[in-house]
């Protein structure tokens, strides 16, 4: 496994120690997963949910949600009813 590539996909920055440790551990886990390649799954329908329910609709009725105060209470930084983030547009 290309650990840097996948950690970036998962948006997780690893320390050099973690990188080294995980490389070995995840390698072992993937070897363990190899068992799955031996199973004959031809023509088998995949299970996403044990008891799937389809077309679950709700009436389109307005209900009250959070006030902006409530919604922002856990935000790490906020100002003027909005969440503050670092600048995302490149100059």
């Amino acid at each position: 496994m290309d650990i840097d590539y996948v950690a970036n996909l998962a948006r997780i920055e690893l320390t050099p120690e973690e990188r080294k440790k995980f490389q070995g551990q995840l390698g072992d886990v993937l070897v363990y997963f190899e068992k799955l390649q031996e199973v004959n799954v031809e023509g088998v329908t995949p299970t996403a949910h044990a008891f799937p329910r389809f077309n679950v609709w709700d009436e389109d009725e307005p209900t009250t949600g959070f006030t902006s105060d409530e919604a922002l209470k856990n935000a790490p930084k906020s100002r003027n009813d909005q969440i503050v983030v670092p600048k995302v547009i490149e100059e």
Binding site: I12, L26, K35, Q37, P76, P86
Partner: protein, 490 residues
């Protein structure tokens, strides 16, 4: 009961009776548990937090309701504590992660609303493996919980705080969540009853999601009778969880009181192979004999896909986790890295600093299994194999009414024994995981002790939405043996 100093040793139904007959008030009950927590939780560390004032306010309201003859149900005034992944408005929810250290729930989970509507005193927040990922509570960012039967050993996990709190008599009833055994395995290791309901029986709204197609909330207690009562309260369809099932909820507590005719139990031969501790084997064999003596028919069955359940589970659960945990982004409601200078940094550094090792491992593994080029070989193949696992159970239930197995291959293990070897930790869920993949209900009941005095649990697996039958089979055994009533000396 006249000695109020021992209130905390009672079961939920005994508390219910004592409150009804006026032997004590909910305030006295709640105070008894609070002082018990202060007495033993330094050693056990089952709780991450508790709000004393809030609990006492709820207790006083219950006493007022009772005084005016308006109680809301049999558990009115009885405390129920929650695994710290279940939302209770205004209370913390850390999921035992640093990334949610300062978070407070802005709303109640559906189960919390149901508890409040039943008059329950919603109590403290219980420790777990971070985001419910683990089998020992060693992955908690706030330090592990200790097994009340041997403080040098783990309580199991991930709901280790929920099981240890009941075993240590710090709470009469608790809720946990079970994705691959996270209720049943800690119940087994702590000598209490723990149940994972059928997938869809209990709403997951307000539960911090780990693997959405597998997660279920369920009860812990000293007795099967209490578990039936608590399950009845939290069950039912919820418009806020589209995977909750619109099937009627029978009165489980009434159902287990009806006369029950011994039925047919299956013993899957794949579960009784190597890897099982000798004391566990001996104890399970005694339980099998108990059922035989009562007139149950026990037959060998086969679940040939058993050995595939661990790889299938870890592919599916990590994939779902990597997707679910994307919400902890350092932007909206989690802590943010102070070193983040651009958008990608906010995500990657906040998550790198905020998540513990196992959570990082699983998110990375999940992202790998879903990534371009590997999706078919891992995720899709695991979902197809999951179908084969379900088919095995369907076939087994053509023959039997329930399946009897050990809950865990070993009793409680020592701290550090498995924490550096993910695969050996994953294998401690070998008997519980396939139940989640098939969506079936499973219950662990105490069935004995090892020579060193560590509890052993037996698992019973039932048919989908047949919790009443499953609880009746479990209650038949539990009401006679009552092993969950044994109390560790602390």
């Amino acid at each position: 009961m006249t000695d109020h100093s021992e209130i905390f040793t009672l079961t939920g139904s005994e508390l219910s009776d004592g409150l009804a007959s006026g032997q004590f008030s909910s305030e006295e009950v709640t105070k008894s548990y609070l002082s018990r927590i202060k007495e033993v939780d330094d050693k056990v560390h089952a709780f991450l937090s508790y709000d004393e004032e809030d609990m006492l306010d709820q207790a006083k309201s219950s006493d007022q309701r009772r005084a005016s003859g308006k109680i809301l149900g049999p558990l009115d005034g009885v405390p129920v504590c929650l695994k710290d992944v279940i939302s209770a408005k205004g209370q913390p929810l850390t999921a035992a992660s640093k990334i949610l250290e300062k978070y407070r729930s802005p709303y109640d989970a559906t189960v919390t609303i149901k508890l409040k509507k039943a008059g329950v005193v919603v109590g403290g927040r219980l420790n777990l493996d971070e985001f419910a990922m683990g089998s020992s509570t060693e992955n908690s960012a706030y330090g592990p919980t200790c097994n009340p039967w041997d403080l040098g050993r783990v309580p199991g996990g991930s709901s280790g705080g929920s099981s240890a709190a009941v075993a240590a008599r710090e709470a009469p009833l608790t809720l946990g969540s079970d994705t691959g055994g996270s209720i049943r395995q800690p119940a087994s290791l702590c000598g209490v009853v723990g149940m994972k309901p059928t997938y869809g029986r209990v709403s997951r709204y307000g539960l911090a999601a780990f693997a959405s197609s597998l997660d279920q909330i369920g009860p812990f207690s000293q007795t099967v009778e209490d578990t039936a009562q608590l399950l009845e309260i939290i069950s039912g369809h919820d418009p806020l969880d589209s995977t909750s099932y619109p099937t009627p909820v029978p009165s489980f507590s009434n159902e287990i009181r009806q006369p029950f005719k011994p039925c047919k139990l299956g013993l899957p031969k794949e579960f009784f192979g190597t890897g099982m501790d000798d004391d566990v084997r001996k104890s399970i064999e005694q339980s099998i004999q108990w059922y035989r003596d009562k007139g149950y028919e026990l037959v060998e069955i086969s679940l040939p896909t058993t050995e595939l359940s661990i790889p299938v589970y870890y592919v599916i659960a990590t994939a779902e986790a990597s997707s679910n945990l994307a919400r902890y982004d350092g932007i909206r409601y989690t802590s943010r890295s102070e070193h983040a200078e651009n958008a990608i940094d906010v995500y990657a550094k906040s998550r790198g600093e905020g998540f513990g090792e196992e959570v990082k491992r699983r998110c990375i593994l999940g992202a790998y299994g879903l990534s371009s080029g590997y999706y078919d070989a891992y995720y899709l193949r695991a979902q197809k194999t999951r179908t084969l696992i379900r088919n095995d159970f369907d076939k087994a239930f053509e023959q039997v009414d329930a399946i009897l197995t050990p809950t865990s291959p070993t009793p409680a293990f020592k701290f550090g024994e498995k924490s550096e070897d993910p695969i050996s930790m994953y294998l401690s869920d070998i008997y519980t995981i396939s139940t989640n993949l098939a969506g079936l209900p499973g219950i662990s009941i105490p069935c004995g002790f090892t020579e060193n005095g560590l509890p052993i649990g037996m698992q019973l697996i039932g048919q989908a939405f047949e919790e009443g039958k499953l609880l009746s089979i479990a209650h038949d055994y539990d009401r006679e043996l009552q092993l969950g009533r044994s109390q560790p000396s602390l």
